[in-house]
Symmetry: C2
């Protein structure tokens, strides 16, 4: 059985390594518009062969589409046109509504499963891929009722082999939830780094000498790949603007409490933030 | 030689354990307004005895003042009045200007060294104290010219034993730098948690099922102790408001680029954020 991976970056590469680690599939074929990534993936043993996209689509029983979300939206309809009769295709994009909407009336829609394994790190490229990247992480599967039960079972088996926790919601719910829980933290981290780098533009060594672990954990996400994240932000624009506005509201609230010496209000605000301990340890 | 620790929380406790680990000092005496913390510190072997503040001050050769910054500012002048002739006292507060200003004309000012070991974690209390908390972390020493060289050498020896990197700046520089590099990240983390907890107030399980490592790293600081952080924010109010305003400016900039589909501007913004890689790996 041929497994085709379109996009041999961190996510596609890690799925490839994860499947090989579980002895799933016979032959791994891959494609990437970035030759450097493609060659690396070959050398790292993620795939056995690099072949053109059209050939990959026609030869694969399972296709993993792990490229930026604007690319997924663009090529998914044409891939569905050309897949084998019984092939299954799933994507790994960080937004889901636009992608699902694009193929909603495609005759082969049911062979597609929309997924979002939540396991990115700030590093990118096949060089960062790991077979255990997904171990015990969350994976969201969207609009599952629109996929064939048999196609669903293939994808569920793949993610279960990697021990992911599977969550089933609609693509609309996904994009709303994820705008706050993932996209907003990324925007906040990029904005913090922009702020700090502007203030210390001639004194980067000062940052280095003064920073502690808190600085690192809040700016870590700003190391993420712009080629991945620009399309994500655009695809979730409406939700994300709402999330940013809500966050600015809370920042201004804190700022004004501080300006007006409203000690009790600030204390309540900080105690409320502490409630995040009820979400995770 | 008696070492006195005023405030037996995470920082005071970790300095006590660090000094014991290096076999520095003979007898460790401590005090804490929180009986629970005091008893814990005794049981954990951080100190040999809990004694009243006044007795501790009169009996100690080295005094570590590791309580919230408003407390330091309040009791430091009186402690200086009562220390032994050759005693050295240093504080560990996260703001420095108000504290230094408060004792600037005190006749025993030179026995005081103003320090800020940057090694906090979101956990607090003596239960979280570790002898290696400070290992290879940054430590800022402020207005060092106002301290006796001999008092300075004692404090430098203590932090060097714990392998901290020592930085020397003025208390005014400290508070400005730290407002951006530490206090702003804390405010951002608290505001992110306030935002998310408001949106998902009836659906905390949704956060848990969807979050990834990026969510955790950006919200981690919002677990910090309000009793520690409220006085820090108040003491650095002017700088911090400026830092928050600068950050809101950058958040709004991103928001407006997104609203107006300014793809190239967003890309530049994300690339600029990536420059944080030049500060740390």
């Amino acid at each position: 059985m041929n497994i085709g991976i379109i996009g041999l970056g961190l996510i596609g590469g890690s799925i490839g390594l994860g499947l090989r680690h579980s002895n799933f599939g016979d032959r791994f074929i891959g494609t990437d518009t970035n030759d450097h990534n493609a060659n690396y993936a070959l050398r790292l043993g993620i795939v056995d062969e690099i072949i053109p996209l059209n050939d990959l689509v026609m030869q694969s029983s399972i296709i993993i589409l792990s490229i930026p979300v604007d690319g997924i939206e663009k090529i998914l309809p044409n891939i569905l046109n050309n897949i084998k009769e019984d092939a299954v295709i799933f994507d790994t994009g960080s937004t889901k509504y636009d992608i699902c909407h694009k193929v909603s009336s495609h005759p082969k829609r049911s062979r597609f499963v929309a997924t979002h394994p939540i396991a990115g790190v700030e590093d990118s490229g096949p060089i960062s891929a790991r077979h255990d990247l997904f171990y015990r992480k969350n994976c969201i599967i969207c609009d599952s009722g629109l996929s064939d039960p048999e196609a669903m079972s293939v994808v569920m088996k793949i993610y279960s082999m990697m021990e992911m926790h599977l969550i089933y919601i609609t693509s609309k719910e996904h994009d709303f939830y994820i705008s706050y829980i993932s996209h907003l933290p990324h925007v906040i981290s990029f904005s913090l780094s922009n702020t700090i780098l502007k203030i210390f533009h001639n004194q980067k060594d000062v940052i280095h000498h003064i920073m502690g672990s808190g600085f690192k954990s809040t700016t870590r996400l700003s190391k993420s790949n712009p080629e991945t994240w620009l399309p994500i932000f655009l695809s979730n624009k409406k939700n994300l603007i709402h999330a940013i506005d809500t966050n600015i509201y809370y920042l201004e609230l804190f700022r004004n409490y501080l300006l007006n010496n409203q000690f009790h209000k600030i204390h309540q605000y900080l105690k409320k933030g502490n409630d995040i301990k009820n979400v995770y340890n």
